[in-house]
């Protein structure tokens, strides 16, 4: 384990409350664990309130309610109100499915600051296919209502091979709906997306074309709409800066109360991620094995160990290193200095072949039946 330097531990700023793994949709790129069906226990309203209070006291200020679909928790307005009283800025990250106008008003009154609605595509057919549920029209309606009730409106569209050709239409849709922010999230390949990678990963040419369209549009709407572009890391030379540094900024709490340094960390072996029912948030943050595991740079191997960029990207994503090489201490294979870079090149080539031959296996959708297979 990484011997951390405990005097340098910064407080959490971001609390991600994954309220539930229940979800009416079945997106095949979901970042929830494949075996989420095994973790169906959910902590109580009182537990969540305590988590919120303790993390706020330490300095967390941004709060994301996510899931699964957080709207399936009946106590959401109560938790939102508690968060508001504590002074959080609270973000609801939702599929929009089942969000009525009455609920939007109730949440506003409870003190919710912002609603992020995900839309899967710019057309009904594709949206409903990817979501695995008929939901296109209700999502559009929700986007309008969010705006109508004075929330900043953030549209999130996850980009992959099945919708990347719609980039121009997606941008036009966001403009028409009056989005204040548009998040274009190129799929990150863990969880369900890892399983479906050959079917989801666009080719280099597709990325380049889509990015150009998005960049031109960004200039056109400057001052009206902000665009967050989550880069497709497989096609980069450097990995993403994992969580802004392990155990420095982000604290995720899973539906069953397990505290995670990153939303995928429960897939890493030997971390023994602690549960909020057994420890205080402060103990978890400062003392737990999981949160100290990759803190700092002591744990690194070469080439990261002697690399002058290690304070910039922290060696990249631990989950990706593990998923792709089987060794979570290794350099993220995305990095061009990684001896495992060929794994990325091969993955890109394999997805490309799958795209060209059109000889594709079906997508594996995220639902409890498929989850039970893991």
């Amino acid at each position: 384990m990484a011997g951390s330097n405990k005097t340098n531990i910064t407080p959490p700023r971001w609390l991600l409350a994954e309220l539930t793994y229940k979800c009416p949709l079945q997106c095949p790129y979901c970042s929830n664990p494949l075996d989420y069906a095994k973790h169906s226990h959910e902590i109580s309203t009182e537990d969540w309130k305590r988590v919120l209070s303790e993390a706020r006291k330490m300095g967390a200020v941004q709060l994301g309610f996510s899931g699964g679909e957080p709207l399936t928790r009946q106590d959401l307005p109560e938790l939102v109100q508690h968060a508001r009283e504590l002074g959080y800025y609270s973000n609801l990250i939702t599929s929009g499915y089942g969000l009525t106008e009455a609920k939007i008003i109730e949440l506003k009154e409870a003190g919710l600051d912002h609603i992020q609605v995900s839309i899967q595509a710019s057309t009904q057919d594709l949206n409903d296919h990817i979501a695995g549920t008929e939901s296109f029209h209700s999502k559009q309606e929700v986007a309008r209502l969010v705006k109508k009730h004075g929330y900043p409106m953030v549209l999130c569209v996850v980009i992959h091979r099945e919708n990347i050709h719609q980039m121009a239409d997606i941008l036009a849709m966001a403009e028409k709906l009056g989005a204040d922010y548009l998040e274009l999230a190129n799929t990150q390949y863990y969880g369900w997306a890892h399983t479906n990678r050959d079917l989801l990963m666009p080719t280099q040419e597709q990325y380049q074309e889509a990015e150009k369209i998005a960049q031109d549009f960004k200039e056109k709407v400057a001052g009206k709409m902000k665009i967050y572009y989550v880069v497709p890391d497989f096609h980069e030379d450097r990995p993403k800066a994992c969580m802004n540094g392990w155990g420095t900024t982000f604290l995720t709490i899973a539906p069953d109360g397990v505290a995670l340094p990153c939303h995928s960390a429960r897939e890493l072996p030997g971390l023994d991620c602690p549960n909020v029912n057994d420890h205080s948030i402060s103990d978890i943050w400062h003392e737990s094995k999981a949160f100290n595991f990759f803190r700092g740079t002591e744990w690194m191997q070469e080439p990261c160990k002697s690399c002058d960029e290690k304070d910039k990207d922290f060696g990249g994503c631990r989950c990706q290193a593990y998923l792709l090489t089987g060794d979570m201490y290794k350099t993220d294979p995305v990095c061009s200095k990684s001896p495992d870079k060929h794994i990325i090149t091969e993955a890109i080539e394999s997805a490309r072949q799958s795209a060209l031959t059109g000889n594709e296996k079906p997508l594996i959708f995220r639902n409890s039946k498929n989850s039970k297979a893991y």
Binding site: R13, G59, N91, G223
Partner: protein
């Protein structure tokens, strides 16, 4: 987009300005983001409540800090704030 010196200036309802005890700083909060402010920026933004235009804001701040010659700094910062959508005029 640039600041109209005649018009009143208002903090954006799409953002939240608040004091953070843990950081001993004022911050601006918005969807999934945060900006930490230094003290002078925070003092300027706190007066952007829709009742003052640029000159009134400068006069009030100069009085508050018993000084003069702040206009350039203040209008420079407000231009940045406007560009970032933290304030608005209408």
């Amino acid at each position: 987009m640039s600041l109209n010196p005649e018009q009143k200036i208002q903090f954006s309802p799409m953002h939240r300005l608040q004091w953070e005890e843990a950081q001993q700083k004022d911050v601006i909060l918005y969807p999934e983001g945060m900006v930490e402010l230094n003290q002078s920026s925070a003092e300027i933004l706190k007066l952007c409540d829709g009742t003052r235009n640029l000159d009134q804001l400068v006069a009030d701040l100069e009085e508050k800090f018993a000084t003069t010659g702040l206009k350039n700094d203040i209008s420079g910062f407000l231009e940045v704030a406007l560009g970032n959508g933290w304030i608005q005029q209408n």
